[in-house]
């Protein structure tokens, strides 16, 4: 029984009168989560937020090469992308914040993917759940999908997500796969006490706002926080892989350098691997600083200058590769000593941000790598 039921209940006619009266007088319903602490004087960069939430896992599912994990935490404020970011406050009716992580089971790589979802209860689709979850970036989880959702009460639900296809160019072990959509279902029981049991930790006041990030959570560790009695689905898939990209130093190719722009760490690698086509290949890997999380849905252009003249100016393709992971790339002629490779960001990562990332990755300056 929730407050609305009480208010509508006949026994509480008096309360109803009071509530109606209060609304007319200008008292507006608001979520208690509407104003969680926000760091003052946030830098235009990645910063350590004021709080960190634990999350619980409702379950996982897999279908073909796609795997999905559904997790939950307290309703959450976030920012949708745009200059300065537009803040999405927690609505008074939001029940829980759901998060979806999609990955490729063969290469154990987190996937940026098209996704629509619906939540069903007793076979009926419930209202109030946006059909397209936001692609999101958070310091503890990295890249994932999520939204605050409104559930009509405690009980059993089924989340049905249609994922795929992957729009990014697929190379190596990804080639010829993930080009179709799949539907994955995770059944879960929404029990408020499961959410209340999650830890909500405030960051030390003198550490808030530091130019740093909370560490990514240890994905092998959250088995413990799985809601009681939840079926974790296919036990073979295990927890999702890390959102961290492969270390740039270990990639098969020449690392041209790593530069910071809009606080993102942008690395460029030239490689001659045949599978990328052309004589040579330029891979650009924009990542979050500190946690090395990939930044999907970004538009980049590469320019190569040789002896004062421009030999290439082309947009980069978003690519998934089993060795390079998620990156942006283009086939090029082999680079020569003295070449200047400039990477411009035409559109910042089109992902929503949680606290600590909402002021970064917007105002990009071009970065230039000179071949030695």
């Amino acid at each position: 029984m929730d407050r609305r039921e009480i208010l509508r209940g006949t026994a509480a006619a008096c309360t109803l009168g009071v509530a109606g009266c209060l609304e007319r007088l200008g008292f507006e319903e608001e979520s208690a989560w509407a104003n969680p602490p926000l760091v003052e004087d946030r830098p235009d960069a990645v910063y350590r937020p004021a709080s960190a939430e634990e999350m619980g896992v409702y379950g996982t599912a897999s279908e073909g090469d796609y795997a999905l994990e559904l997790s939950y935490t307290f309703p959450h404020r976030f920012w949708i992308p745009g200059q300065g970011g537009s803040r999405v406050e927690v609505d008074a009716d939001d029940s829980v914040h759901l998060m979806l992580t999609v990955w490729d089971t063969e290469t154990e790589t987190i996937l940026p993917v098209d996704m629509t979802l619906e939540i069903r209860r007793d076979g009926e689709r419930i209202d109030g759940v946006g059909s397209s979850p936001w692609p999101m970036l958070s310091q503890r989880m990295g890249f994932h999908y999520g939204d605050n959702v409104r559930l009509p009460g405690e009980g059993e639900y089924t989340l049905r997500a249609r994922v795929g296809p992957v729009d990014a160019v697929r190379t190596g072990d990804f080639e010829g796969r993930l080009d179709e959509a799949a539907t994955l279902e995770v059944a879960f029981a929404f029990d408020r006490s499961d959410v209340h049991d999650l830890e909500f930790a405030l960051v030390d006041e003198d550490r808030r706002g530091e130019r740093d990030a909370l560490p990514l959570m240890d994905r092998d560790d959250h088995e413990d926080s799985t809601a009681d009695g939840q079926d974790r689905g296919d036990h073979d898939i295990g927890p999702p892989p890390t959102a961290r990209g492969p270390a740039v130093d270990d990639l098969p190719g020449d690392l041209l350098g790593t530069e910071r722009s809009a606080d993102a760490a942008i690395s460029a690698v030239e490689t001659r691997l045949e599978r990328f086509g052309g004589d040579s290949y330029l891979a650009v890997l924009p990542r979050t600083p500190y946690n090395d999380v990939v930044l999907p849905f970004t538009s980049l252009t590469a320019t190569i200058e040789r002896d004062g003249s421009m030999v290439l100016e082309e947009p980069l393709s978003e690519v998934l590769d089993h060795e390079f992971g998620h990156h942006y790339g283009i086939a090029i002629d082999p680079l020569e000593a003295g070449d200047e490779v400039t990477v411009a960001v035409d559109a910042p990562p089109q992902v929503s941000r949680h606290d600590g990332y909402e002021t970064a990755f917007f105002e990009f300056e071009d970065v230039t790598f000179t071949i030695g």
Partner: protein, 507 residues
């Protein structure tokens, strides 16, 4: 909840700081709730001219009263007017006729039933605070124990006490427990007849309460509660709150067994003292089991509201407590605490120092005003007597200030409290609060001002009761008037400032 509860809300959820979860991030609405970690940070925009006007208004109103109402008969008529609330039914009248032989008059049935229901409700509430505190969610704005303590006990019950009637003797679970245990011990110690037991219940302690202690234990107890509320994470750690409730019950129980419930609760129980004193402002007064309707605040003129120095100290602490909680969440207050901590003091000690230092200042100013009043009147009456008589009007100021601080807090957390009450162990994850409209800030100022005006009127009536000469009565009020004007300005200044989390203890 913040915040939490006032941070503090302020719950503050707090519900606070982010409380909520842990604390409430609800941080507050009103400053003192912010201090408790249960409220939203909020700024009331009041132009400075309004602040000044208010101070001037208080002075002007008082001056007008002093100048115009010099007719003792008018003052007496207003203050002595009362309407007996004869709620006894005809039936109980018949009953008492039938039982004329009974020595003890039977209280009306509704009162007996009402008291029993009140006691049960009080015990249930205490049980809920302990149980939900231990077992419920950690998020302050969702935890019924936290909401019951801060919205119910801290904000709403005192409001009922000074706006309607003191409800505490009826619901006080600590008193119920103490009386029960005491009666049980009495039965164990020796079987007396029930009537004799009832008669001796009030004196049934192992020792006589040391009369020279007066009500000083209650004063220290209230100061301790105010301090603990601020430095302990009571709104974000419901287990701690449950432990505190149990600790308080233990304190009342042990004292009652040692010194009898009546003496201990009258002199050493800060909550009972707080409610008894706030209740003196109320329009419904209970005396000897009978209820009387009086003009609100008129009882403040009576000499039996504050009976000794310790109770003067308690009244001054009631006023200072609210100011203190308002102060530490404003920028100057936060800077003061930060400066003290910067000089090497631990945060709890810094808060204690500001609490104690400001309290000493408040007591000093009151003593000074009393001395000045005695000289100005002039009178041969003892300073002590003047201090005692002019203390009750301060209760009206405290009441106004309490209302200004807590009305928004209570309204804002009302939906969350209802939700939590409906489902204490599994409340909504996302509690609903009410955002306050802008005019609440004005209303708060009006409430604060109303308290001051009532206090000025009550002091005026006291002066006419104490002094034989009209001129004496008028002149005696000048120092208190000056004090109140300064206090009005300070209170308003605090109300108009933006609130923040109290440093070092938030969350």
């Amino acid at each position: 909840m913040s915040s939490p509860i006032a941070r503090r809300s302020a719950f503050a959820v707090s519900v606070g700081a982010t409380v909520i979860a842990v604390a409430v991030a609800i941080d507050t609405v009103a400053a003192s709730n912010v201090a408790a970690g249960l409220g939203d940070e909020r700024a009331i925009t009041v132009p400075t001219w309004l602040t000044l006007l208010t101070g001037a208004g208080a002075v002007g109103a008082s001056a007008l009263l002093a100048a115009l109402v010099t007719d003792r008969r008018v003052i007496d008529a207003l203050h002595d007017w009362e309407l007996s609330l004869a709620l006894e039914s005809a039936r109980s009248q018949r009953d008492s006729d039938a039982e004329q032989s009974t020595a003890v008059p039977t209280p009306p049935r509704w009162l007996v039933v009402g008291s029993a229901v009140g006691s049960v409700l009080g015990l249930l509430a205490l049980g809920a605070v302990v149980f939900v505190g231990l077992e419920g969610p950690t998020m302050g704005t969702a935890n019924f124990a936290v909401l019951l303590s801060f919205v119910g006990l801290r904000a709403v019950l005192p409001t009922i006490a000074f706006l309607l009637v003191d409800p505490w003797p009826t619901v006080d679970p600590f008193r119920t427990l103490a009386n029960g245990v005491s009666a049980l011990l009495e039965r164990v110690r020796g079987s007396r007849s029930p009537t004799e037991r009832r008669r001796t219940l009030s004196t049934a302690g192992l020792f006589a309460y040391p009369s020279r202690l007066r009500s000083w234990p209650a004063v220290i107890g209230l100061a301790a509660l105010v301090w603990l509320e601020l430095v302990l994470p009571v709104t974000t750690n419901p287990q701690l709150l449950a432990a505190l409730a149990l600790g308080y019950a233990g304190y009342v129980l042990v004292g009652s067994v040692l010194f009898s419930p009546a003496a201990w609760i009258r002199h050493a129980d800060p909550l009972s003292t707080l409610f008894r004193l706030y209740g003196a402002v109320a329009p419904i007064q209970r005396r000897d089991g009978a209820f009387r309707l009086v003009v609100p605040g008129s009882r403040l003129r009576n000499g039996d509201v504050v009976t000794d120095a310790s109770e003067i100290a308690f009244v001054v602490l009631l006023v200072w407590e609210l100011t203190f909680n308002g102060f530490v969440v404003t920028p100057p207050g936060a800077h003061t605490i930060e400066a003290l901590v910067g000089s090497g003091l631990p945060a709890p000690a810094a808060y204690l120092l500001v609490l104690a230092g400001g309290y000493a200042l408040a007591l000093g100013l009151y003593a000074l005003a009393t001395r000045a009043s005695r000289r100005l009147a002039p009178t041969y009456l003892a300073e002590r007597l003047l201090a005692r008589r002019f203390a009750p009007p301060l209760l009206a100021i405290a009441a106004g200030y309490h209302l200004a601080h807590y009305v928004g807090f209570a309204i804002s957390l009302a939906p969350a409290t209802l939700d939590a009450a409906a489902n204490p162990l599994s409340p909504p994850v996302n509690p609903t609060t009410l955002a306050l409209p802008g005019w609440m800030g004005t209303l708060e100022i009006v409430m604060l001002l109303a308290g001051h005006l009532l206090a000025i009127w009550a002091a005026h009536a006291v002066a006419y009761d104490v002094f034989p000469g009209r001129l004496q009565a008028v002149r005696s009020q000048y120092p208190f008037l000056a004090l109140m004007v300064v206090y009005t300005a300070v209170s308003l200044w605090l109300l108009t400032m933006p609130t923040t989390q109290p440093p070092y203890v938030a969350g």
